[in-house]
Amino acid sequence: MSLLTVENISKQYAGHVALDDISISTKKGEIFGLLGPNGAGKTSLIRIINQITGPDSGRVLLEGKQITRADISKIGYLPEERGLYKKMKVKEQVLYFAQLKGLDKTTAKRKIDEWFEKFEITSWYDKKVEELSKGMAQKIQFIITVLHDPELLILDEPFSGFDPINAQLIRNEIMELKAKGTSILLSTHNMNSVEEICDSIALINKSKLVLNGELKSVKEQFKSNTYAVQFKGNMFSFGNALFAGFSLEKSEQIDENRAIAHVKLLKDHNLNDLLKTVMPAVEIEGINEVLPTMNDIFIQAVQGKEGGENE
């Protein structure tokens, strides 16, 4: 069942189109990657979902119903550009934001204790934010985002500013929240983390939706029928065995007489044909399909689009 549905959203700012007929939908308990180059319109879309600005046309539904101000407590938002009051004490500040999200004081205090104990940072309670490092402040911001148990989490570049250990910690928290049924809308440029944790993605480029769907099917869409063949034998004879139906994309020597070759199947040829062709020449140790990385897909989708526009 879908939790968040964005239907045909368009938004224009003084002569420039920020979003052009965008529709996406996220399921309960999935991590949805919202991707796109800088200035593509991701933040505009996130602001519309958060009801910070309104769309020119289209609508946002939460659990099938038009989103209202009352739904704010169901959403947790970690903005990309984020900050805290520098002079305010940590606990006081988290409490303040929790109350603004609609938690009562007692519940908020209890939850603050839970989270701070979990992160082992209760000693920060009486520190002023200006005394914290950037990474420490980011942790506090993460807690502020999730403290009220939102059904929908919107995380804009959640890993930026964290060292690898803390990034891992946050990643684990995100996975834990997902397991509890929280839907997460993740906007990031970090394609590795998209690959690792996203179930579905949408790619926005120049205010238009370019790609949308489950990560697997998007990858299927972009796969190029290429296989990585690991073999024992001579690279030269492997190459010689291939004929016009195959193209050797790249090869890599593992040790003296073992190598991996990436072979693209052309025309109607299938994997069996490839095996038949190379088996006489070398001893095959393993074979698997090469799927494009999110990085490749991102670059291809964005540049392909630009190329198309130039024609």
Binding site: Y13, A14, R47, N50, I52, T53, R69, I72, I75, Y77, P79, E81, R82, G83, L84, Y85, K86, K87, M88, Y96, F97, Q99, L100, K101, Q141, I144
Partner: protein, 440 residues
């Protein structure tokens, strides 16, 4: 608690708990009291008695001079009926003890010229006292010369009790009341400046630290803005009420302990007797005059209505300017960028301040009437007119209604601009752009 309530609470307590707030709130009235005390103390210390040598070769004063019945006169008079050159007065040891030499020539009746020379410059009061005493003595001489008796002359000299009263209230339209009114104007101007500025800095702080990004996902920008304006305004009112409290306590204490004499009716009788007897005139009438001022401060100024209206106009003026300043804060990226955008808002504020000083002599004139109605200036001008009793209740109601309307408009416009401005980074907005934001 509502979300706006939470914002108000944070804005209020984060400021009131600051050391600087406590220090300013308690120290400023104490500092004023201390300075006033110092001024009084120094004026007492300055009470050096000057020895005046009246060089009167024609002996017109007959070596007599009426000094009245004051305990500690600023100058004592001595007479020298011979000729004395200033050079001798300056150098000869026998005159060393005298501070001032006054020369009364034989032709003083016709040329009306009196020259005096000092070693150490006397204070203005002392100089006035010396002049006054001598003039009085010489006038008596003239009077006798013209055939008037001394008692006839003193009867003529007695001052008239001239009072200018308002037809409406029957109260005195004294300039002292206008000074108090001007004081209120300056006070309200300062409060608007300080607290609107705080609103602006608060908005800029939230914008540059990006706290606002987190805030606006929980609360509407317009609520955030109103919460901030109300919270900061309450800080201003708190400070004002504490000051009023401290000043009231000081005034009551002064009344009980320092000015007790002035409020003692038996002293009034004595003063009246002295006045009627013609014993006091000119500068000597200073005593009843200063008691008049004290009486005015305690009884002549409509304090309660002034305080009530001060709070009304402070709230109105502050909300009006505060929302404009919030709007500016949202449109800029840092405090250094505010200068040029602030100009159009600062101008009417400073203009009203200048008007308030210029109308002090004419609080019922056309400038005062107009600017006490125009909302951008009425908070500063109106109190001055109220203090000087030149305003009707209808005018106050009209002016307050206009102010409320202006506030509603300012909040509406500021909220529209604020909601766009706070999320607009890296742009130094011009007024043209800011107005465009209203359409977003």
């Amino acid at each position: 608690m509502s979300k706006v309530g939470l914002i108000i609470k944070r804005e209020y307590f984060s400021r009131v708990r600051k050391k600087s707030f406590i220090v300013v709130t308690v120290l400023v009235p104490l500092l004023i009291a201390f300075l006033a005390f110092l001024a009084m103390w120094f004026s007492l210390q300055n009470n050096k008695q000057f020895k005046v040598l009246v060089v009167d070769p024609s002996n017109l004063c007959e070596e007599k001079l009426f000094v009245g019945n004051i305990s500690d006169p600023p100058a004592e008079f001595y007479f020298y009926t011979g000729d004395l050159l200033t050079e001798d007065f300056k150098t000869q040891p026998q005159f060393e003890e005298y501070d001032i030499m006054v020369g009364i020539g034989p032709n003083v009746i016709s040329n009306k010229k009196i020259g005096a020379f000092y070693r150490e410059k006397p204070s203005l009061t002392t100089e006035k006292y010396i002049r006054n005493r001598l003039e009085l003595r010489l006038e008596e001489y003239f009077a006798l010369d013209k055939g008037l008796s001394l008692s006839e002359y003193r009867e003529i000299r007695q001052e008239f009790d001239f009072s200018m009263l308002s037809l409406d209230s029957g109260q005195a339209d004294t300039s002292a009341a206008q000074v108090v009114g001007l004081g209120f104007s300056i006070f309200i101007f300062m409060f608007i400046m300080i607290y609107s500025g705080q609103v602006m800095r608060g908005v800029i702080e939230e914008k540059t630290s990006r706290v606002v990004e987190i805030l606006v996902s929980s609360i509407k920008p317009s609520q955030l803005m109103m919460g901030k304006i109300i919270g900061v305004g309450l800080v201003g009112l708190t400070q004002f009420l504490i000051w009023i409290g401290l000043i009231a306590i000081t005034l009551v204490m002064l009344r009980l302990f320092v000015f007790a004499d002035v409020f003692d009716p038996s002293n009034w009788a004595q003063l009246n007797q002295m006045q009627n007897a013609g014993a006091l005139s000119g500068e000597m009438a200073q005593v009843p005059k200063s008691s008049e001022l004290i009486m005015l401060i305690y009884n002549g100024i409509p304090w309660l209505s002034l305080l009530f209206l001060f709070i009304c106009y402070f709230i109105g003026g502050y909300v009006l300017y505060g929302s404009l300043f919030a709007m500016i804060g949202s449109a800029v990226d840092s405090e250094t960028d505010t200068q040029q955008v602030m100009m159009p808002v600062m101008l009417p504020l400073f203009f009203s301040y200048i008007i308030s000083i210029s109308i002090i002599s004419n609080p019922g004139g056309p400038a005062a009437i107009w600017f006490s109605q125009i909302p951008l200036s009425s908070p500063i001008i109106m109190l001055q007119r109220v203090a000087s009793n030149t305003v009707t209740l209808g005018e106050v109601i009209l002016s307050l209604s206009l102010l409320v309307l202006a506030c509603a408009f300012a909040i509406w416009a500021a909220a529209k601009i604020y909601r766009v401005g706070i999320l607009m980074y890296g742009k130094k907005a011009s007024w043209k752009e800011i107005i465009k934001w209203m359409k977003f």
